[in-house]
């Protein structure tokens, strides 16, 4: 089927966040399939590949693209909160994001072309759970907290506890992503973003790496990593991160670093690349990140 065949899908618009939570709770209780539609850059394209819905089995689509509550970017103390409905175009043009989370601005420039940036949202990419999502890799590098809300209240999920498998997560069926919170690492923190794809615009990554680190006297004291397109989930590279946090930069060698990456991921072949190439690129970008921090690798 194609996007053009969606006309029979029922559509409704969310009025405000409280009524959306109530509606989503009701649909979850009755086990009716539903989709929250923001920019549609993931879900709409997925419909191109699927078989037509059986009669009566279409999901209800709830438009959340105009919920003001999901579109706020707020700085409170040293926590930057980005609404789940903020588009990548809004993110890259936000003075708060540019000043305090420059990795996100840089990443947002790489999310497809401007037509895609103007529609795609962090919440949408988190909800669809694609391990290729640039935005999720970048917020993972900041050790983001995902704020979800339901009629039962608000819950905060650390990025490290979100993903349980391919497109699977600890978010409950009646919970909605409402914001991403980032504990800012400070103005002297280093950040890194590299996306490797077939071309600069419009490409889904073969490998992408976001990294954030604070270095004090040659020692990494805060480190977050998020790698896209190398695992069933956004890879957080825990062993590589542990190496950075446990070893002086001058003592980190290339073999050790490659071994850590090897133990963190086992990328596969797919239409965009091969597992072998992905592993090679993954090691190269991690070394590049390490060099940017001052390691000789």
């Amino acid at each position: 089927m194609t996007i053009a065949d969606l006309a029979s899908v029922p559509f409704e618009r969310a009025g405000d966040l409280a009524s959306l939570c109530a509606r989503v709770g009701e649909l979850a209780d009755s086990e009716q399939p539903f989709v929250l539609l923001a920019g549609g850059t993931d879900w709409m394209v997925e419909q191109e590949l699927r078989k037509p819905f059986a009669a009566g089995a279409e999901p209800r689509v709830i438009d959340v693209s105009r919920l003001d509550k999901l579109r706020e970017i707020r700085l409170e103390g040293n926590v930057l909160s980005i609404g789940a409905g903020v588009t990548y175009w809004e993110m890259r043009n936000s003075p708060e994001v540019r000043a305090h989370a420059p990795l996100l601005e840089r990443m947002a420039r790489d999310v497809g072309a401007i037509q895609i940036q103007a529609r795609g949202t962090l919440g949408g990419n988190l909800a669809t759970g694609s391990p290729a999502a640039d935005g999720v890799a970048a917020v993972a590098a900041y050790d983001a907290i995902l704020v979800v809300q339901s009629r039962r209240g608000v819950r905060r999920i650390p990025m490290s506890e979100l993903q349980t498998g391919y497109k699977a997560s600890t978010r409950e069926g009646d919970e909605i992503f409402v914001a991403v919170e980032i504990l800012l690492p400070g103005p002297d923190a280093r950040w890194y973003w590299r996306k490797v794809g077939t071309r600069r615009a419009q490409a889904i990554s073969k490998v992408a790496l976001g990294g954030v680190a604070r270095v004090e006297a040659g020692q990494v004291v805060r480190c977050g990593l998020g790698m896209a397109s190398v695992a069933p989930v956004t890879a957080l590279l825990p062993r590589t991160r542990e190496l950075f946090l446990s070893t002086k930069l001058e003592k980190i060698g290339p073999v050790q670093l490659d071994k850590a990456v090897d133990s963190d991921i086992s990328p596969i072949d797919d239409v965009r690349s091969t597992g072998e190439y992905r592993l090679h690129v993954a090691k190269s970008v991690v070394r590049d990140f390490a060099r940017a921090l001052g390691a000789r690798v």
């Binding site: 194609t2 996007i3 053009a4 969606l6 006309a7 029979s8 899908v9 029922p10 559509f11 618009r13 539609l37 920019g39 549609g40 850059t41 709409m44 394209v45 191109e48 689509v61 438009d63 693209s65 105009r66 175009w89 420039r109 497809g112 072309a113 401007i114 037509q115 895609i116 103007a118 529609r119 600069r200 615009a201 419009q202």
Partner: protein
């Protein structure tokens, strides 16, 4: 569902299924066939329109999300008698060949010039990166945008 939107500066109403693509409703009920369908999945940019001033692919926006919003298609840029500088320079600089990508190119280029009066070549290429052209090799298109920026800055905007 009855959808009310501002289309090329005029209020329009259309009664249709809300999950239909903006692209189809523009071309069919609203009879604005300047917006073309290329890939139909957000890759080629041929169906680019402005939604509340931002460039979007009309093949990936459902009409239900357009209620109360402002849509500009290529027909809203300028009339035959009063072309915008970007439309004139696509003619004079050879920015259009077969023409299928041209409506989307014009929308993306005009959106760029509205937010950045003097773009660099790199900024022009980034703004047009979501609009694929299989004829020109892009050089004439970049030259057209560059010339339009000059024309606008020297008071050539109509």
């Amino acid at each position: 569902m009855l959808i009310r939107l501002k289309l090329n500066g005029q209020l329009r109403e259309v009664d249709t299924a809300p999950m239909r693509r903006l692209l189809d409703v523009l071309r069919e009920e609203l009879e604005l066939t300047g917006t073309k369908e290329g890939c139909g999945e957000g890759e080629c940019g041929t169906c680019t329109v402005l939604l509340d001033g931002e460039v979007v692919n009309a093949c990936m926006v459902v009409i239900g999300q357009c209620d109360g919003r402002d849509v500009v298609t290529v027909e809203g840029l300028g009339s035959e008698a009063h072309l915008l500088p970007i439309q004139k320079t696509f003619v004079t600089e050879g920015g259009a060949q077969c023409g299928i990508c041209t409506p989307g190119m014009l929308i993306s280029a005009e959106a760029l010039l509205r937010r950045n009066a003097s773009p660099t070549d790199e900024q022009i290429r980034e703004a047009l990166a979501g609009n694929l052209c299989r004829c020109t090799g892009y050089e004439r298109i970049v030259a057209s945008v560059r010339a339009a920026a000059l024309a606008r800055s020297s008071g050539g905007a109509s």
